[in-house]
Symmetry: C2
Subunit: 619 residues, 2 copies
Amino acid sequence: MKISSWAQFLVRTAIALAIPCTSFSQTASSSAAIVNNLMPQPSSLTAAPGRFLLTPQFSAGTTRFNSPRLDAAIHEAMRQLRQKTGLALAEQSASAGAGSQLKIAVQGAGEELQFVEEDESYTLSVSSTGVHLEAATAVGAIRGLQTLVQLVQSSGSEYELPAVSIRDSPRFPWRGLMIDFGRHFEPVDVLKCTLDGMAAVKLNVFHWHLTEDQGFRIESKLFPKLTIMGSDGLFYTQEDVAEIVRYARARCIRVVPEFEMPGHSTAWLIAYPELASDRAPDSIRREFGVSDFALDPAREETYQFIQRFLGERAGLFPDAYVHIGGDETVSPEWKTSPRIQAFMREHQLKDSEALQAYFNRRVLKILTGLHKHMVGWDEILTPALPRDVVIQSWQGEAPLVKGAEQGYQGVLSAGYYLDAMKSAGEYYLVDPLPSSAPLTPEQRKLVLGGEICMFSEHVYARTIDSRLWPRTAAIAERFWSPEQVTDVDDMYRRLDVVSVRLEALGLRHLSQEDAGLRELAGTEHIDELRTFASALEPVGFHERYDQQKTSRLTVLDRFVDAVRPDPPSRYGIERLTHDFLKRPKTDTADRDALRRWFEVMAASVPAVERQMKQPPLLA
Amino acid sequence: MKISSWAQFLVRTAIALAIPCTSFSQTASSSAAIVNNLMPQPSSLTAAPGRFLLTPQFSAGTTRFNSPRLDAAIHEAMRQLRQKTGLALAEQSASAGAGSQLKIAVQGAGEELQFVEEDESYTLSVSSTGVHLEAATAVGAIRGLQTLVQLVQSSGSEYELPAVSIRDSPRFPWRGLMIDFGRHFEPVDVLKCTLDGMAAVKLNVFHWHLTEDQGFRIESKLFPKLTIMGSDGLFYTQEDVAEIVRYARARCIRVVPEFEMPGHSTAWLIAYPELASDRAPDSIRREFGVSDFALDPAREETYQFIQRFLGERAGLFPDAYVHIGGDETVSPEWKTSPRIQAFMREHQLKDSEALQAYFNRRVLKILTGLHKHMVGWDEILTPALPRDVVIQSWQGEAPLVKGAEQGYQGVLSAGYYLDAMKSAGEYYLVDPLPSSAPLTPEQRKLVLGGEICMFSEHVYARTIDSRLWPRTAAIAERFWSPEQVTDVDDMYRRLDVVSVRLEALGLRHLSQEDAGLRELAGTEHIDELRTFASALEPVGFHERYDQQKTSRLTVLDRFVDAVRPDPPSRYGIERLTHDFLKRPKTDTADRDALRRWFEVMAASVPAVERQMKQPPLLA
């Protein structure tokens, strides 16, 4: 680029004011050593000397199997390479394969419907003469393409792929992200960006939490009142669902829908009060926290309704799993209603827990009839539960271990609640299946993986990205990479790189903070406010809820909404402090760096204070 | 918000390091004086003492006419107020009117189809007891709602509307923004955001430049080959068009489509070579600049094609105007083909200009038959042209004046080319109809207004916002506000406010720069790079084109794409320098401020230089 006339004016003025201007010099260092920025880290990587130089002639082609899905993924990888390198790579079809520099050899499509045991492995080898990507399935090849894009690095003047041999497959087959769309709805575009991010870090399950006390977020043609009365008009149409399922499948991501029952069901009961355990709500719940309405497990009509409802869902969601929630069920009527009590006696159900277990067995039977497996939160783990159920542990690791001991499959979510606003480093070190877990090898296989959870009391379209990313990428590595990959420093180093790459895919987790600060301050001059904000982070769900008494109607446009969880300064200062305390007292470098940081921070305060005097929201 | 435990840690560490931390104090100053941040400025504003305090009980209601369009606009205004103030304003229907604090009295819908002479006037009065918005049409009321939202200001602890009496109507009835989607296509979402921004600053014509040598961007069911062969798959479906027209109408914006003919027509001729002036192109044009292909004006089939094509368009675009381009037509065959030469002799057309004038008259006749008026770039202004045509002057102000003298209506675009990358201040001072123009009062009425032009050689989805905004807001004020509103300092002061507000609507003109820099640097640590970039701006179209030899296939991901036109530092430094030169030599404040700025800039250079060593794109 040429510096414009305005910049020339600046330079002239600088000369007039006798301020030295450094000129730029560029040295073309042709390094071929690998800079390992991969996230997640592959199971095995061997670096060799040499590199493959990227030129505008770089092309990709399949040598064996191809399919529209694989072809589209290759196109997308080429687009990302084009964007990243500025090279005008040709847009040719991938099927014209054998002469290409990137040869993609895939044995077959994999399963028609992606399932838990899908083979996601691949090998990727780069030499100075070419790049080979091999996989048993299109899914494996698509995972490998993400690695390839991440592998691109630059020497002084060129883009290159370092010579490597990568052999990779995931540690866990179930690597999920759950998002709650009940408490706050998100537009389809936000979901698509989220799926793009998930694919980039090799997550493979999108757990779509679609019903809540605060809103019923999916259209039913059989029961239209569910959204007419229970959604405030904020819901996904069946076309939206088809589009998201298609979009996810293109990225080798399974979509597991969740319909909360029998609790967290206020929104169902607004529309169909006859399904309630005697007492139905007057209106959609605006408050957060647990409600005390529940579907009635003691009425045959409830199961007829669920049968028809889930039957309609089965046509929309091809995945083999359906999540029925099952957590936090509170219904005083289960203890007081003579009718329900009589039902319990008749069925020898001694307490509410047994009644819910009965309900779960009935729903499981419906799902089995629909050829679906059941997933539920850990409350569903009761003695009478059949084994063909996946337990999602949210209350701790104990239910997962307990479940595995009893023969249940499970995924871990305790420790991965993003709305707790912990740091990437904290989440990163939570292992779904630590070596120390007291399980046999057979039982260990029952632990399928983990799911990150984003409950949405305090997020909406303009803040969700910064609550999800980049922390989700760190946890995704935990689910994919070998257990020994636990170097937090190295994780943070790579997270900075992957975070920017995720933004290039369309996510806005980095830019949302400044945009929020500008909006609060009412000006784009936010240098000091940005400095100040960089040291703050949002509080966890409970703390904010307790203090602000937030509800579904709270406008989420405060300072706490603008700032990001786990800001980069936090880890930086932690490192400095750590090093400072470790080093001999005579070495003052860290102390000086810390002092400088605090001085910059303190220097920002007067301007921030001035700015905060004006807009009440900022104050 | 509560500062989180990490921030508490920081404060403790600061204390340990003996760095003073200023505490925040807040004084509730209850100022009621108006802070005039309105853009565009209204024709008349009288401020009074007092204010209307905004509370969660604030509500809006219509007292006379209402319609779904007006109702939706009121809802949107309430949403913006909610977002801006954090007040949980109720979401009631606007028709429940008379008891509301904001009373909206509208006489009627206005015309079924918005047209040039639409009444857009309104009055807005705020007193301590209530707010009254009155307008003859829904269009006027919707303009007034934008003013109302802009009027909200904050005292120390509250949000308020200052007591004012505003009487407002536009200076010009045609206030447009043209965007070229031929050279680069933009997704529908980008268009919608653009329309949101246009509505916020009271622009009322979206000029949709849909065909170019580089691509045919609108589906034709009659002639599907136009997009199959001429669009690289990047085009608007007829559903997209309907959606955009609907979205624009909701915001009282007319949509004027442009189909370039007979020149700039490479994309037509790829699909239908039989329409060419003897010689047809082999492929879509990738280069920029003017091509030398043209539709054949000497063949009856050409007009039959245009008749059918425009007939199909007429059903899609309700607006009374259709733009036929008409600029930069070059066809060597018009001078060499015996057949065309014979046609010209037969019709007594002495040269190429006369031939194009003949073509224009034929197209005008077709449009008249479709009940449409014709708009064209100033080349269409030739002696034989009928008067019922609007001339869009792009080559200077002379054609506009010349046209008005001859009785043609016109809009000015010369001086408003955003791709020239001039400053907001420069565009701002270009007047479509300066007092000095040598025209009679009757002729002056023929100047309908102006149109901002964004040609898209060097923009795409991730940079277009920063090329459009906020400069478009400054020009929008020129089109709406009285001629005497020319204070550039005050314009820049208000532009900072409106710019942030536009971002809150969903535009990304401010955040795109940092995102681009992060992507180039491959890290989110871009403090110095940001400082450095803040003094640079992209070069104008010609300069870049000449230097980089850009084409449709050039990847637009360089430093020059990341930085913004007219960065805030430019005007700031200009002011400082100006003041510095004006003041007595003993007053060194400005000189010191300038020096500090250059020192900060110079201090950023070493880090920027280090960062630039790595990614080739950044270097």
